[in-house]
């Protein structure tokens, strides 16, 4: 518990900053919705005629004129990508920061097994990512209440559940990478998040690249799919979870025998 609480304390500023930033932009975005509400038919027609770009953002199947459609497209990008950056940074630094900050010598000369230390750090990462996502959900609900719309609990809950899974998968992938690194891997974490985001855009825009949907976790957070299907697609979620678990297993196996610098 000591190490778990220590990890949460070390990460609290980053958690607060990222959560407030994402939450702020979600609020701003939804608060602008009433201004656009009257023009949504024209906007919807315009967005629907942008070819591959339209498909890439799922606007060919979503009605941006509705609050949930607007939320899924506009806020979805903010929460999905912003949260992915936070999850990646938190995951990639969890283990590597001990060596880059030269604190591994302090931590690992206490009577803890490597497995316990890594497991506790993983738990702290997952808790922080979950707290960030729950707070973003709270900001989402608050923003809808502020524009005097009934809260679409089911749709909002589904979208945020998908974002949470996305962020947990990214955090797990980056945590696994973190075990192999001796120095800070922030660039790798951010690069991975951005690459997977663009992989999803490409997969949506080009049918020939459909296979990318089975690689990028952004695929199962696609608002158009979620709102039209009414649920997560297990064919996309399960491989994602498998990648995350595989990264964690490999990371743990390596970390247990790793030479610390």
């Amino acid at each position: 518990m000591t190490l778990f609480c220590h990890e949460l304390r070390q990460g609290r500023l980053s958690l607060a900053v990222w959560t407030l930033c994402i939450g702020f932009f979600v609020l701003v975005c939804v608060l602008m919705y009433p201004e656009f509400e009257g023009q949504m038919e024209e906007m919807g027609a315009m967005f629907a005629s942008m070819g591959g770009f339209t498909a890439a953002f799922g606007m060919d199947r979503l009605n941006i004129g509705t609050l949930t459609g607007f939320y899924a497209i506009e806020c979805g990008s903010i929460i999905g990508l912003g949260g992915a950056f936070y999850a990646a940074l938190t995951g990639i630094s969890a283990l590597a920061k001990e060596e880059s900050g030269h604190t591994a010598e302090f931590l690992l000369t206490h009577p803890l097994s490597r497995g316990f230390a890594a497991g506790t750090k993983l738990a702290a990462v997952l808790v922080q990512v979950t707290v960030m996502d729950l707070a973003c959900f709270g900001f989402g609900v608050l923003s809808v209440l502020l524009v005097d719309h009934p809260v679409p609990w089911g749709d909002l809950g589904l979208l945020h559940a998908a974002y949470l899974l996305l962020h947990l998968e990214l955090a797990a992938l980056c945590f696994g990478f973190s075990a192999f690194r001796h120095s800070s891997g922030l660039g790798i974490g951010l690069g991975l998040a951005v690459s997977l985001y663009f992989a999803n855009l490409i997969a949506n825009a080009a049918p020939a690249a459909d296979w990318l949907n089975y690689i990028t976790p952004f695929a199962y957070t696609d608002g158009a799919d979620l709102l039209t299907e009414g649920g997560l697609d297990p064919a996309l979620v399960l491989p994602g979870m498998a990648y995350g678990i595989a990264a964690l297993v490999l990371g743990f196996l390596h970390y247990r025998r790793k030479d610390m610098r």
Binding site: H6, Q10, G101, E105, F106, L108, D259
Partner: protein, 293 residues
């Protein structure tokens, strides 16, 4: 019981040698000095014993426990002070001490308070703002506050002022008298000579000498200081000859008679023949191709 026992302990970093075939024995209750220059393998030895790195070959036991299989039990009984202590950013000294005690699941409040008092360490200070010496003090308290059976100290006095060094060694002597084993890795030979009962000398990853400190220093060689101008040409056993303003100084190993005859036949105003200190012996060990003096 032996506090530390290594047999043919070897660590290679890829092709680079860390330590090779290291055989070392430290008895429980000893105050042991571990001497060697940078890159000799001191830190590699310590990091291997603590399980921070895995040995490539050989075996080692700490407090009778195998380092490969009983790491946690070993660490529970060991206090380690690294050469340079690093802590987590944003913490105060008391947070670091509490974290260290918490990770050991032990209430160390009373001992920590006493150590901080003796080392004049302000527990409300932020570790980011501490000087090297004060960070070292935090490391010392972390290493000692749980009353470990074995203390592994890597260059412990770096950054400490002379008064603090004296207090630190006073604490170590108390702990040693109470039964704790002290394993002191150091460049500073005077502190090894002053405080340690036995010492080991490591060079190029191998232990090249190990024994009582006085035996290590007593190699049969003598430090000779001559005020005058003797002709030492042809006298075997003279090494490290230095010319002074009014004489010469050298290390001499060999029978006394030829030395005295040489000095007697020269205009000499004064002669001092003394035992070399450990520093001189150490330098000799590390001189290229040097054999024990």
């Amino acid at each position: 019981m032996q506090a530390i026992q290594t047999e043919n302990l070897t660590k290679f970093y890829g092709r680079a040698r860390g330590i090779e075939g290291l055989d070392l024995e430290v008895e429980a209750g000893e105050f042991f000095g571990f001497i060697g220059p940078n890159g000799a393998g001191k830190s590699t030895t310590i990091r291997t014993l603590l399980g921070l790195i895995a040995p490539t070959g050989g075996s080692a036991r700490v407090l009778g426990l195998d380092i490969r299989t009983r790491r946690q039990e070993i660490l529970r009984q060991v206090g380690y002070l690294p050469a340079e202590a690093f802590f987590y950013p944003g913490q105060r000294v008391r947070d670091v001490l509490r974290l260290s005690a918490g990770l050991r699941r032990k209430d160390c409040t009373a001992t920590a308070r006493e150590l901080c008092r003796r080392l004049q360490l302000d527990t409300s200070a932020r570790v980011d703002a501490l000087s090297f010496g004060n960070r070292k003090k935090v490391g010392i308290v972390c290493a000692l506050q749980h009353d470990p059976a074995l203390l592994i100290l890597d260059e412990p006095t770096g950054g400490l002022d002379p008064l603090m060094q004296r207090e630190f060694f006073s604490i170590l002597r108390e702990r040693n008298a109470a039964g704790a084993t002290v394993f002191l890795s150091s460049h500073i030979l005077s502190e090894v000579q002053r405080h340690c009962t036995r010492a080991g000398v490591i060079r190029d990853g191998r232990l090249i000498a190990c024994g009582k400190v006085e035996d290590l220093a007593d190699t049969g060689a003598r430090r000779v200081l001559v005020r005058g101008n003797p002709d030492l040409t042809g006298l075997p056993g003279v090494r490290g000859l230095e010319t002074l303003e009014d004489g010469v100084r050298f290390l001499y190993s060999g029978p006394m008679q030829p030395l005295l005859q040489t000095l007697a036949s020269a205009p000499v105003r004064d002669v001092q023949i003394t035992e070399p200190d450990l520093e001189e012996v150490f330098l000799h060990y590390y001189a290229e191709g040097g054999e024990p003096a």
